[in-house]
Symmetry: C2
Subunit: 130 residues, 2 copies
Amino acid sequence: MKKTKFIEDREQLEKLAPVMKAPIRRHVFVCTGKSCSQVGAADVKKEFERILQEKGIRQGKESKGRNPMGEIVLTECGSVGFCSIGVAVLVYPDGIWYGQVTADDVREIIEKHLENGEIVERLALINIPQ
Amino acid sequence: MKKTKFIEDREQLEKLAPVMKAPIRRHVFVCTGKSCSQVGAADVKKEFERILQEKGIRQGKESKGRNPMGEIVLTECGSVGFCSIGVAVLVYPDGIWYGQVTADDVREIIEKHLENGEIVERLALINIPQ
């Protein structure tokens, strides 16, 4: 395993991880565990990528078609226990877990929830109190 | 791809996903992307598993040594942009991103932050406002 030196200097850290300077508002996780993958997780993730990048709000490297100052972070994650009711999509820091999400639901989640803070009630199954 | 029928009945959903009934307080993500894996992500994740299960606070199936009514969910996730300053560990809904985490830091994150709500400042690099 690679041993690395602990860096304390904030400026140096920001150069290594520009995401530290982004005005992140929401973090979306799409479960790409085995069961969610069988019901379309890859398509759900691709649709998030497509629409978020089209809107220019996905945080990430410009060379990947993303926005270094984007407000939305999109990441895949492992199983969260929604294996029978996937695809699971989580939105934090709101603490909302969506189940049974298909690619057709993605635009609604982006435009209602990510952009306007309104939960898509028909898909929301868990709401973690803050 | 498997086509599934949309389930509306809450009781049926809870049977399929018992995590819906758990009193979740915090969700920890350990990045297991390529770069974080090179600096010990697997060890960090294992240490979270070990201590959380020893304390009986990790949500999950009893058959896996977890607690169906546990307050902490532990999940792995893909790259979040901390590739040069891993291992990345995220704690939600708090919105805290830790960097440069090693297995030696895990007990402190669990006992200070997950159990007592105090951020481990020396490792915290991003704080997403709620």
